[in-house]
Symmetry: C2
Subunit: 194 residues, 2 copies
C-alpha cells in the first residue's frame, strides 16, 4: 500500500535494535483518515471472503480494528491482556510472550463473543515475531470459529513471524512489509507489493 | 441518548457491587454501528466548539474515540497505562487510582502529541469515580492545551466523579447517566436527558 509506505518513510523513526517508531500516526497518536484508507485496502484484499467478526488485541490494535470493521460491517472483539493468575468466568485463554516488554502474559476472550459459526479476521498494527497473532489464532481455534486470515498494517519481514504463520497455512495480508532499516542513514526498504 | 439507554437495558448485566457489564457491545465486543450513533450524538452536543484532537485512555476508550473522531475530523491520542517506574522520553504523566483493579498506575502521553494550541475533547466509555478522566484532564492542563470538555458513554450518577468534575468547571457530556440499579430485579434507573 503505497500511501502507507510513503507515510512510514515520512513520519516513521528508526531506532536502535531494529525499532520502527510510528507513534505519530499509528499507535499513540492515530490518523483516522489513514485508518480509513487501511480499512478500504483490507476490504479489497479480503473481497469475497465471508467475515462476521474482527478480532484484535489491546491496546494498539483496537483503533485500527474499529475503523476497518466499518468496511466489513461487523463487530470487533478485542482480546484482553492480563497478568492475573485466576481468570474469572468462561474465557478462552492462551499465553503470549512479549519481546518488547520481556514478559509473558495471558490473553483472554470471553466465550460469549467467539465460537463455532464465527468467521474471523484478525487485525493488528504490527507483526514481528508473530507471538501476539499466534495467540489470537490459538483463541480462534479453541473457540471452534473459522480463521479467515490476518490483516496487518506493518510487518517486519526480517523477523520470523510472518513466514512462520504463513507456513502454518494462515493467510496474512500485510500492507507494508519492511525488509530492512538503516538507523544511521534513516532509510527503510520495503518489499514490493505482489 | 435513548438508543443507548435501550441497549443498556436490553444487553447490560447488573452484577453485585453496582457493577454494570456492557461488554457485549461497548468494551470487549464492540458494536461499531452503535459507536457511529454515539459519534453523531457527541458531535451534536459539542457542535460549534473548536476541537482539533481527541484524547482517550487505553484500552476500552480507544475504539469509541476512533469512531467519534470521524465526526470531528480530528486525530486521536490515547494515554498509555504503565507500571514502569522509569518513564522514558519526554512525556506528560500523572497517577491514576483504579478502584476496579485496586491499583495505582501511571498514565503517559508523549509531549509530541499534546501541547499549547491543542483544543482537546476527552472521550471514555465509563465515568464512575472519575479518577481516569481527572488524570486525562491533568495531562491536558500540564501540556498547556485547552480542555473543551469530556464525552462519556455511560456515567454512574450515583458515584461522585461526574459531580466533582463538573464542580471543577469541566464540561462533561454523558450519553446515559445511571442513577441506580437493582441487581435482583435487573432494573436500571436512568437520569432524564436535559
Amino acid at each position: 500500500m503505497q500511501l502507507l509506505k510513503d507515510r512510514i518513510r515520512k513520519d516513521g523513526k528508526i531506532k536502535s535494535g531494529n525499532v520502527l517508531k510510528v507513534d505519530s500516526f499509528l499507535n499513540h497518536q492515530m490518523d483516522i483518515k489513514l485508518f480509513e484508507e487501511i480499512g478500504k485496502e483490507f476490504k479489497r484484499r479480503f473481497e469475497g471472503e465471508e467475515i462476521n467478526k474482527i478480532l484484535t488485541i489491546e491496546a494498539s490494535g483496537i483503533g485500527i480494528a474499529c475503523i476497518v470493521a466499518q468496511y466489513f460491517d461487523v463487530p470487533v472483539v478485542f482480546a484482553k491482556k492480563t497478568k492475573t493468575k485466576n481468570i474469572a468466568g468462561d474465557v478462552y485463554t492462551t499465553k503470549v510472550e512479549s519481546f518488547t516488554h520481556g514478559k509473558v502474559y495471558d490473553i483472554i476472550v470471553s466465550k460469549e463473543f467467539l465460537g463455532p459459526g464465527d468467521k474471523v479476521l484478525l487485525i493488528d498494527d504490527f507483526l514481528a515475531n508473530g507471538k501476539a497473532l499466534e495467540g489470537l489464532a490459538a483463541l480462534v481455534k479453541d473457540s471452534g470459529a473459522h480463521l479467515v486470515g490476518a490483516g496487518i498494517v506493518i510487518e517486519k519481514g526480517f523477523q520470523t513471524g510472518g513466514e512462520r504463520l504463513r507456513a502454518e497455512g494462515i493467510r496474512v495480508e500485510s500492507l507494508a512489509i519492511v525488509d530492512g532499516m538503516d538507523e544511521e542513514k534513516g532509510t527503510i526498504w520495503f518489499r514490493e507489493d505482489e
